[in-house]
């Protein structure tokens, strides 16, 4: 193809993409077709990939195809292995695509479809994809070092420590909030509970199969496991219809929360081959399969979006989470737009597989663009629901009232009509007793997915599809929970080892047990508090998680910006400096509001004071008064944590500015820690 026709094709992609975005943004009517979103997204990613990522590579990072990567130099046939770029792409995508891009966009739909969609597209192309790619490149140049180590080497011990502590806290908040999401999906749902319970023996069975019966035969074991999982969804339906059996799996939210805590502890100390690894194989297959199926269904069905472009809740009065459009849409949607957690996989893990620096563009930028597309599909799935139904599922009882009649009356008064009968019929179709106040995003996403799937692949299976979607979300939430607890345990042991050496022995049982108890207790505390909270916990915890995730992204972008300046690329430092500035503004504003806002719904301390006042004046009902002291303490603690995140972020930013200033003025700074050039002996494929 000659240059002209290629140019014309890219021009056409740009025009189609721009028209689709314009169409979404300017459309004001009853409903809009989901295809507009898919077209806008795909064109945006293509343009971003073709032009922006290529420009960054050519001008800023300048990969060297003749340079041997860590995978080649340290090739040990185990973790350092030069690998085909499509295979690395698959590994990296499977690692970064977790439940986050499904939950955040679903919650952000309370502002309408437009703000979330625009932020997912812009945030990914300018921020998230760039972060993942740049960090991956810098880590590959540094023997596959982790973000924390890079921060320490390039900025100094302060930055390194901030990165380590920041990572540890984000994992704890993340696990607690993900735990809450599945608690809300499983409470008083024998079908969901029995299906999710069944995934545990299935995973163990597959673990034993892969280790003892047919060692290392991952594919056949996973296929057997996936078949069993699908069977467990159908079996769950049978249990749900059995008058006695169903009572065995009918737990309230506290019961499920304790189950999650015990499970997390067991998964952290059991050998990985028994539970964690086989569960991960199954969840990865389920995840890729379901995302693929959802994409096909959306393309095939082209559902109508019923949510308005913008709702009145941009003023901060929304029931799903508190806070105005700015900054909270940028906090709520982290994964899907820019997620700091990715920098942990992009450094340390993936670079050990990269066989040539030229592959980093596709693996780093490309995987994130694909994850962002998953976020767009999540927002589509949330917005195909009737807005009234969406709000009925996602509003906590503490906001809209415990009684169904009160909830629908309030939601309808906002201009999103919904009736008790409508919700009862829907719950019945989905095989649930109720769908009210199932906060956390997973249930409403499951309703959306079930609606799309059943229309595309055969009506009448709504309940099965709904529980399939719940099971699919639960398996990989539990995988993140297992893996996160384990990693946090290692990090804590590393930290404790500096204080008292025996505590750092990862092979010692007592030390492992001790660190695991501490980690599980930490996230278990937030989980239980979230369950006690009449606002459903997600209302408070998700913004805190968003702040922590964006703080981590801030740390990663700070390290990257510092390295760019130190390598004499000041004039290109805006590539990471611009998203950093935006994140610093959003995260600081959000944390400031969470700490200082006088509105008890937004400010943690204001919320604590408000409740303390009500408690002192005796206006709380007795069951609320009993838990009020705990909730007051918890809100104060959350306020301090938000402050802590802010301080950590600004310490590392100031440290980077100090180092950059010294470098630009010719003063001594920690030297660049790039590994020396060594010529590759691998042929570039």
């Amino acid at each position: 193809m000659n240059k002209l026709s290629r140019g014309l094709i890219w021009l056409a992609i740009a025009i189609v993409g721009a028209s689709a975005i314009g169409g979404i943004a300017l459309h004001r009517g009853e409903s809009i077709n989901a295809m507009w979103f898919v077209v806008a997204a795909v064109c945006t990613y293509l343009i971003g990939y073709r032009f922006y990522s290529a420009w960054i590579m050519a001008k800023v990072l300048m990969p060297d195809a003749t340079r041997a990567t860590p995978a080649e130099r340290f090739n040990n046939g185990r973790d350092y292995i030069p690998t085909n770029r499509w295979v690395v792409f698959g590994h990296h995508f499977a690692a970064i695509a977790g439940p986050g891009p499904l939950i955040g966009p679903t919650l952000a739909a309370q502002f309408g479809y437009l703000p979330g969609t625009l932020w997912i597209l812009v945030g990914a192309v300018i921020g998230g994809c760039v972060q993942d790619m740049v960090i991956m490149f810098l880590s590959t140049r540094r023997n596959g070092k982790s973000l924390g180590k890079m921060a320490r080497d390039e900025l100094g011990p302060v930055g390194g420590f901030a990165a380590l502590i920041g990572t540890l806290t984000i994992i704890i908040i993340l696990i607690a909030v993900l735990g809450l999401v599945i608690v809300n999906a499983m409470k008083h749902s024998p079908w969901a509970t029995s299906t999710v319970f069944a995934t545990i023996p299935i995973a163990i069975l597959i673990g034993i199969y892969m280790r003892n019966i047919r060692p290392g035969r991952v594919l056949e074991a996973s296929l057997i496991g996936v078949a069993l999982l699908i069977f467990s969804v159908v079996g769950g339906g049978w249990i749900d219809h059995h008058p006695i059996l169903r009572t065995w799996f009918d737990f309230d939210d506290k019961g499920i929360a304790w189950f999650v805590i015990i499970y997390g502890f067991a998964a952290a100390i059991l050998p990985v081959w028994l539970l964690l690894a086989p569960r991960d194989y199954l969840s990865t297959f389920m995840k890729l399969g379901t995302i693929f199926l959802l994409a096909i269904a959306i393309l095939f069905l082209q559902p109508e979006i019923k949510m308005p472009a913008i709702t009145q809740f941009i003023d901060g009065t929304g029931p799903v989470f508190a806070g105005k459009l700015f900054p909270f849409v940028f906090i709520t949607i982290a994964c899907g737009a820019i997620s700091g957690f990715h920098s942990l996989v992009s450094s340390g893990t993936t670079p050990k597989l990269i066989s040539n620096e030229k592959d980093i563009r596709m693996i780093g930028y490309g995987s994130m663009a694909l994850e962002s597309l998953v976020g767009i599909m999540a927002i589509i799935s949330a917005c195909v629901l009737d807005p009234g139904v969406y709000f009925a599922i996602n509003s906590p009882a503490g906001i809209v009232g415990k009684e169904a009649a009160d909830a629908v009356a309030l939601i309808s008064s906002w201009g999103f009509p919904v009736t008790v009968e409508q919700m009862e019929i829907l719950a019945k179709e989905m095989g649930e007793s109720t769908l009210f106040a199932r906060t956390g995003g997973a249930p409403s996403l499951a309703v959306g997915m079930a609606t799309i799937f059943s229309t595309a692949f055969g009506q009448g299976m709504l309940a099965v599809w709904y529980h399939f979607a719940i099971m699919f979300e639960a398996v990989f939430i539990l995988t993140t929970l297992d893996a996160g607890t384990r990693v946090a345990r290692f990090m804590l042991q590393d930290l404790l080892g500096h204080i008292y050496k025996p505590l750092g022995e990862t092979s010692s049982w007592t030390s492992s047990l001790f660190a695991s108890v501490l980690i599980v207790a930490a996230w278990g505390y937030f989980l239980i508090m979230g369950v006690l909270d009449p606002n459903g916990g997600v209302y408070i915890l998700w913004p805190l998680f968003g702040i922590s995730n964006q703080m981590l992204a801030g740390i990663a972008l700070t390290v990257a910006t510092g390295i760019l300046i130190k390598s004499g690329k000041l004039k290109y430092a805006w590539v990471t400096g611009l998203p950093l500035t935006w994140l610093a503004i959003c995260t600081t504003t959000a944390a400031y509001e969470k700490i200082f806002s006088a509105n008890p719904k937004i400010g943690f301390f204001a919320g604590a004071n408000d409740m303390a006042m009500k408690l002192a004046n005796g206006v709380l009902p007795p069951e609320k008064a009993a838990i009020a002291p705990k909730l007051i303490f918890n809100q104060q603690l959350d306020g301090w944590i938000a402050a802590f995140f802010m301080i950590v972020l600004w310490i590392i930013i100031v440290d980077m500015l100090r180092i950059s200033f010294r470098h630009l003025n010719g003063l001594s700074v920690p030297p660049l820690s790039e590994a020396p050039h060594e010529k590759t002996r691998l042929a570039y494929q």
Binding site: N75, N76, G77, R78, D79, I81, T83, N84, W86, V87, G90, H91, A95, I96, A97, G98, P99, G100, S146, L174, L178, M210, R211, N212, P215, G216, R217, V218, L219, S222, P271, V272, W273, L276, A277, D280, Y281, A334, C335, S339, F341, H342, L344, V345, G348, T349, T479, T480, A483, G484, R486, V487, F490, N549
Partner: protein
Amino acid sequence: MDDKLQKLWDVVRSLSGDDSYERYVQHQEQNHSNEPILERKAFFVMNLENKWGGIARCC
């Protein structure tokens, strides 16, 4: 056609880690022929411990 299917199958095996033992054996024979080669089961467990010692999954 068969060639392409074979290639696709190779990618699937490689993505899932189904062929990691074969690759390990090949690597050991080529580079460390004097060292003992782990058995399938021992290699599988070691590989998993290795993978899950670091951050392998995101949110």
